[in-house]
């Protein structure tokens, strides 16, 4: 069922397969654009200007919003080429690349066990997943196992976490359900066994909005989206096992909740891609990456220009 939806949406074979309507009728939880069960947020593919030296990106909005939009503002390729960025989900990136609509696709999941297997790719950064709660919530720290139990619904009240005696409202975006989504893999052994009383949302922005609104809520979201609200005091970021989520903790391995951000492509375009990746792994690029993401060096990414030639 999910594969059929992916094929119909991503491979653009409208009319051949039942579309979203039929799917939504069977599964009302995904009857909205960018439903959480598919790593896809865009209904229609983006249309970019195609100048000489231009590059286009579509895919996970974590990477798009976390670094690429800012990077695109400063990057200039050969012949003045620019980087055009569109967000979405992992499947948006894979579909865009496979359909040759974009040059680069972004994924927040490992390429392994995804539909992008076989495509060339580079790890460009790591995404920090932070645990957030309402600022009024007295809880400041949560154990990893407690978090996993709350995600699975085994712990349903804050009292069990040292807080008030009220229900835990877990706010979940169940994205990339058939990929090896890192957080789900860590908490639920990659099974979509989220708490049956969770509050499911469609977008990461809705996670932070819901947690900021509901005092009894608990959420797990990219630092990219949580940072503005945490910095303004509208959200509280909980420590996990006493470790504050940041790049240093991720690099040190003391903070386990993080995921890779990969860029895939169908074929290596040396005239346009090499300058871009060179820029991305350059000091300036890493600096931009470091704002909200955990940058990855060229060596760690095994970036070699001739690797996918």
């Amino acid at each position: 069922m999910r594969r059929r939806d992916f094929l119909a949406a991503g491979l653009a074979i409208p009319g051949l397969l039942p579309g979203r309507g039929a799917f939504a009728a069977d599964n009302p939880l995904v009857d909205a654009p960018g439903g959480g069960y598919v790593c896809r947020t865009r209904v229609a593919p983006p249309v970019f200007p195609r100048g000489p030296g231009d590059l286009s990106y579509q895919g996970t909005h974590i990477l798009a919003q976390g670094a690429l939009r800012e990077l695109a503002e400063v990057y200039r390729g050969p012949a003045g080429g620019r980087l055009h960025v569109a967000g979405g989900g992992c499947d948006d990136g894979i579909a865009g690349v496979l359909r040759m609509q974009v040059d680069l696709g972004g994924m927040c999941c490992p390429v392994e066990k995804s539909r992008a297997v076989g495509l060339p790719w580079y790890l460009v950064a790591r995404d920090i997943k932070v645990v957030i709660a309402h600022p009024a919530n007295p809880v400041t720290d949560i154990g990893f196992d407690e978090l996993a139990a709350a995600a699975a619904g085994r712990i349903s009240r804050w009292r069990e976490l040292g807080g008030e005696d009220r229900a835990i409202a877990l706010v979940v975006r169940n994205h990339c359900p058939d990929y090896l989504e890192p957080v789900r893999d860590l908490l639920l052994n990659n099974k979509p066994d989220w708490s049956p009383k969770g509050l499911f949302v469609e977008r990461d922005e809705q996670i932070v909005e819901a947690v900021a609104r509901y005092p009894g809520s608990l959420g797990l979201v990219s630092w990219v989206f949580a940072k503005p609200l945490v910095e303004t005091g509208k959200l509280k970021m909980l420590k996990v096992d006493g470790v504050r989520a940041d790049a240093r903790a991720v690099r040190a391995g003391s903070y386990r909740l993080h995921g890779p951000l990969n860029v895939i492509f169908a074929r290596w375009l040396p005239k346009t891609m090499r300058p871009f990746f060179d820029f991305l792994y350059s000091a300036r690029g890493l600096k931009i990456m470091n704002r909200v993401l955990v940058p990855v060096s060229a060596e760690e990414a095994d970036y070699r220009p001739g690797r996918w030639a």
Partner: protein, 562 residues
């Protein structure tokens, strides 16, 4: 025969149960039998019936058509109203389905209902939805029909399933739709949207327009309204009563009144116009009636003026022809009687001549012989002899005149200029009667006639003598006028003319109005004129005037003589 004593006479007959009707006045009785009055009444009735039939037919047809039109408009408005309700319900249902999937609403509702969440969150979501979509009523219910959050007036709890219906809230009818909030296929709350129906109806049928649509409940209804059943909840009956104002009806009534007046006025005008026309056309009949009465009294010769060529004109012409024919018949009858008398006189004259003329001749001759021997006769005898001879002569002349009168006129005609001939006769007559002035006025140009000059002079002398005796020593005029076929010789005097009785008997033998007249002169003149193919006419109303008509030469229509 038994005679009843008055005392034993039976009682007077009881009054008749049915008294005789009062006779109508004469003018009304005349109207009763008047063709014109009958035609007037018939025309009035016909036009009235025709107008009434026309009016009623138009009224029935037009009223029926307008009634059908109004029903069609009402049916159309009902369909339109029902379509509006169904369309708005469908739109509202679609919106409810869409909003039931709103993440904030779903999560806030679930958060409140199952996660000890505050009520303000679903309330905020409901308010946001109501403001965003300008919905008058948004309600969020749990599955136990408990109201969780709401804005505006809230209808009764909805069913857990999706549904559309109309429902009363107070005096307002609302469009109500509901959609469940689902989780794992199970409904955990119900979103209910409601909007008052009336604004939509007002938009389609503005107040003051011809179409009135109002909601009604129950079975009560007005017959003139068309009812549209609406989907209601809880087994209630809700109707839309649709009525279309009959705006055409008053206008139609005005038109009917106007039409009735127009038809009545024009019907009356037409009746009177036709009556006037008929009266004008039948007017000759009244004159004809009088003329026929005159004919009945024996007054022939009257002529009426005819107009046109219609039946009345032909009747008048036929009457004129009949009157002329009757006049000619009377003249012919008179002439026949005259001829018969002449024949009788002729036979009697011949006998008299045979029986009296010979002794008179002997008496006259003896008397003349006695006159030739005066010496042998005493003076007295001589005087007596002369007297005998004179009266014998007179008797013989009378007998001769009788013989002449009864004898057919035998003409020795020759062509003459009548102007000259009459002038000669007039000259001789003047010599004979110098005391009577005689003026002779000839016709213009020569007047050629074929006449017996001697007979003609005798005829004119008779007529001139009559004129002189009618007005002694007064002027007498003889004038001639001619046309293409006839010449008229008119003898005019200043006498009193003939009386009506005299006119009837002028030509009878021995009828005379003169002392010493023998009553044969005018008849003899008539015989001479008729022998020439002419005639003598004494026109009525022209005293002292006698006209002799003679045919011009070549136009001689010889009529049989006496």
């Amino acid at each position: 025969m038994k005679t009843l004593h008055p005392a034993h006479a039976p009682d007077p007959a009881p009054p008749l149960a049915r008294t005789e009707a009062e006779p109508l006045p004469e003018h009304l009785a005349g109207l009763r039998h008047s063709l014109l009055a009958s035609m007037f009444v018939a025309l009035t009735l016909s036009i009235a019936l025709m107008s009434a039939a026309l009016f009623l037919g138009i009224d029935h047809f037009v009223s029926q058509k307008f009634d059908e039109l109004r029903k069609q408009r009402t049916a159309y408005a009902s369909i339109q109203a029902k379509a509006i309700v169904e369309r708005e319900l469908a739109q509202l249902a679609g919106l409810a389905t869409l909003l039931a999937d709103d993440a904030e609403l779903r999560n806030s509702a679930y958060y409140h209902l199952f996660l000890d969440g505050e009520k303000e969150h679903p309330q905020a979501a409901v308010h946001r939805i109501a403001e965003s979509f300008r919905l008058e009523s948004v309600g969020l219910w749990n599955t136990s029909a408990r109201l969780v959050a709401a804005t505006g007036s809230v209808p009764s709890p909805p069913a857990a399933q999706r549904g559309v219906a109309v429902d009363w809230v107070g005096q307002t009818l609302w469009l109500v739709t509901s959609a469940p909030l689902l989780r794992e296929g199970q409904a955990y709350a119900v979103l209910q949207l409601a909007r008052p129906l009336q604004p939509f109806l007002d938009a389609a049928f503005p107040p003051g327009s011809e179409v009135t649509v109002r909601a009604a409940a129950g079975d009560a209804g007005v017959k003139q309204r068309m009812r549209v059943a609406l989907p209601a909840r809880n087994g209630k009956q809700v109707w839309l009563e649709v009525a279309v104002q009959d705006s055409v009806g008053p206008a139609l009534n005005q038109v009917k009144h106007l039409l009735a007046w127009i038809m009545a006025v024009f019907g009356l005008l037409l009746t009177f116009a036709l009556a006037a026309f008929l009266g004008w056309q039948l007017k000759p009949l009244r004159a004809l009636t009088q003329a026929v009465s005159a004919v009945g009294r024996g007054e022939f010769g009257a002529r009426l003026q005819s107009r046109g060529r219609n039946e009345i004109a032909r009747l008048v012409n036929a009457f004129n022809a009949m009157s002329d024919d009757l006049k000619r018949l009377r003249d012919l009858e008179r002439r026949m009687r005259h001829q018969e008398r002449l024949s009788d006189i002729g036979r009697m004259a011949a006998r008299v001549a045979h029986d009296i003329n010979n002794p008179l001749t002997v008496i006259r001759n003896v008397a003349r012989l006695m006159e030739k021997k005066p010496a042998e006769q005493p003076a007295q005898i001589l005087e007596d002899s002369r007297l005998i001879a004179h009266h014998s002569e007179r008797c013989m002349r009378t007998v001769e005149m009788l013989l002449d009168y009864g004898r057919p006129v035998r003409l020795k005609s020759s062509r003459h200029d009548l102007n000259e001939l009459v002038a000669e006769i007039a000259a001789r007559w003047r010599n004979a009667w110098p005391d009577t002035p005689l003026a002779c006025i000839p016709a213009q140009g020569p007047v050629q006639v074929d006449v017996d000059a001697y007979q003609l002079e005798q005829m004119l002398a008779n007529l001139l003598d009559n004129a002189r005796q009618a007005a002694p020593a007064r002027p007498v005029t003889v004038s001639l006028t001619a046309d293409e076929a006839w010449v008229r010789v008119t003898i005019a005097d200043s006498g009193p003319g003939f009386s009506t009785e005299a006119l009837e008997r002028l030509y009878e033998p021995f009828f005379t109005t003169k002392r010493g007249g023998n009553g044969l002169g005018l008849g003899s003149a008539l015989a001479i004129a008729q022998a020439h193919g002419g005639d003598i006419d004494i026109p009525p109303g022209a005293p002292g005037r006698v006209e002799v008509r003679l045919p011009l030469a070549g136009n001689h229509a010889q009529r049989p003589g006496r």
